[in-house]
């Protein structure tokens, strides 16, 4: 999974043209991954101000408005790819435009299969 991080400060500093280019680069990468059959899924996430936290304490769910304003980086979206190697996954991550702006984290998804030991 590619966890895509964004920071409002870096994003706000971009010109409109730079933002459009970023969208185009991401769309191009998406097309390539769909074509190659490596694309599994993914979404952009709404602004963290729309987040609602849910905690259950003593069996009672408590909701709270999402993270505090001082958070500098937030999870802005994710892509799930199924590729042949870690090297390939890192190569894809490096092409996500946000990697050059803020950062992308690559983490394996847990498998449902397992070997007896």
């Amino acid at each position: 999974m590619m966890l895509i991080y964004s920071s409002p400060a870096t994003w706000d500093a971009l010109s409109q043209e730079e933002r459009d280019q970023l969208e185009r680069d991401h769309a191009e990468l998406y097309r390539e991954l769909v074509q190659s059959g490596e694309w599994v899924g993914g979404h952009a996430l709404a602004d963290p101000s729309r987040s609602i936290g849910v905690r259950v304490r003593g069996g009672v769910p408590i909701t709270s408005d999402g993270p505090y304003a001082e958070i500098k980086e937030h999870l802005a979206g994710y892509d799930v790819v199924d590729c042949d190697s870690l090297e390939r996954a890192l190569e894809i991550a490096a092409r996500i435009p946000d990697a050059a702006l803020c950062g992308v984290e690559v983490r394996p998804i847990m498998e449902v299969t397992g070997m007896e030991m």
Binding site: G41, V112, M117
Partner: protein, 415 residues
């Protein structure tokens, strides 16, 4: 749940799939479109035959329908290119082909197709997907669900694989002489991967994956019929049978892994064990020994022990030594170390795995850590074993393995 008749029909269609594809492909030479046409013919059969009955010559029926679809496709493509009125589309087509359509299938079509699907131009994932569709006759939806990816993803992967084969200029038919052994190895490896993908599933909503082991076994049986003298084909089949036999005992009902030493051996499938043992026993003396035969022999030694404590560990150690001489992969060394520990004690096992700690293929690999944890536990070093189990649980990307390793850690005292 499919009715028994449906399952019989599905089995028949899967059996016929590669032979039909081979028969049409030999004339058309166009793998991509022919494979699509055969899939359509199989779908048509699965819709029509339950209502109208299975034709007297099912193979001929499928070949005729697939050929017609292929011709239609060529015509419509030609028509599109020419921007002319599509006369072909208006041509009436018969609902069913003549029952006497007799194109005799060649016996080795299945093998030729397997060799094509496991072409070196394809990634392993593509070889697996294409083999399941073109040779095993599974639908794209079934393959996608077996590998837990969206159907669209699998469709792309298969389409891309077929184009790669075309781009590589690969032909249907026997590969060039020198390549043959390598290509057959690739086929066996692909079947082994398909088997493992199905076998390592531990329950829950994974019914589709179980199918993968039976498909792998079925295809390997077919190759063995075609190449009865090949010891490695027999070895692979025996290995699959002996491994599959343990399935009922390898996980609890809620999906927790049960290690070999703790499995309820009464639940092992006796018929599969017998077949596997007979096959490997008959194969070993008469053919050049190879890695699949050795792994099957090791599985057979385990199978022959009524209780875990009756296991003939010295024989297993000897077999691992032979296996290591052929392929000293880190995984083989790990298993070897566990067997050595059973004969010469845990210290001897720990010595064997020590060099792996600096092997970059294994650095940070959960399996190495898990084996170290196991050997430390055997040596009575419970605190160290507990830390190693906890580390291995964090390193694995498998949920059942993480659960197993965390449980082992929790069962040990912290100091």
């Amino acid at each position: 749940m499919a009715e028994p008749e449906d399952r019989d029909l599905e089995a028949l269609l899967r059996e016929l799939a590669p032979r039909v594809l081979g028969a049409v492909l030999r004339r058309s030479g166009d793998f991509d479109r022919t494979e699509d046409a055969v899939q359509e013919a199989l779908l048509a059969a699965s819709r029509q035959w339950p209502a109208e009955g299975v034709p007297t010559n099912p193979h001929g029926w499928l070949v005729t329908v697939a050929s017609r679809r292929l011709t239609d496709q060529w015509r419509s493509e030609a028509a599109r290119r020419d921007r002319e009125a599509n006369a072909a589309a208006r041509e009436p087509t018969r609902a069913t082909p003549a029952a006497d359509a007799s194109i005799q299938p060649a016996a080795d079509d299945t093998l030729s197709l397997l060799l094509l699907c496991c072409h070196p131009a394809l990634s392993m994932a593509s070889q697996v997907a294409l083999t399941l569709r073109a040779v095993a006759g599974l639908t794209t939806a079934q393959i996608a669900s077996a590998f837990l990816v969206p159907e669209a993803t699998m469709t792309r992967r298969i389409t891309r694989a077929k184009r790669s084969i075309e781009a590589a200029g690969a032909r249907f038919g026997p590969p060039p002489g020198g390549d043959y052994a390598d290509r057959l190895n690739a086929v066996l490896h692909t079947l082994y991967l398909i088997f493992n993908e199905g076998y390592t599933t531990t329950g829950g909503d994974q019914l589709h994956r179980v199918e993968l082991t039976s498909e792998a076994i079925r295809l390997t049986r077919q190759i063995l019929r075609l190449l009865p003298e090949d010891g490695e084909v027999a070895g692979l089949l025996a290995l699959m049978l002996l491994t599959e036999a343990r399935r009922p005992a390898r996980a609890t009902e809620d999906g927790a892994l049960v290690p070999l030493a703790e499995q309820d051996r009464d639940r092992w499938d006796a018929a599969l064990l017998r077949e596997g043992i007979e096959l490997i026993t008959a194969t070993l003396p008469r053919s050049r020994v190879g890695p699949y035969q050795l792994q099957a022999a090791i599985a057979a030694v385990h199978a022959e022990a009524g209780r875990a404590e009756d296991t003939d560990w010295p024989q297993i150690v000897a077999l691992y030594q032979l296996l290591e001489r052929r392929s000293a992969s880190p995984m083989v060394i790990l298993s070897h170390a566990v067997a050595v520990a059973m004969v010469d004690g845990p210290r001897a096992g720990l010595e064997l795995i020590a060099p792996l700690e600096t092997d970059e293929r294994m650095a940070g690999h959960h399996r190495l850590t898990a084996v170290r944890a196991h050997l430390l536990e055997m040596a009575g070093e419970h605190a160290a074993a507990r830390i190693a189990y906890q580390l291995a649980a964090r390193q694995t990307t498998s949920r059942p393995e993480r659960r197993y390793l965390a449980t082992r850690a929790a069962q040990l005292p912290a100091r």
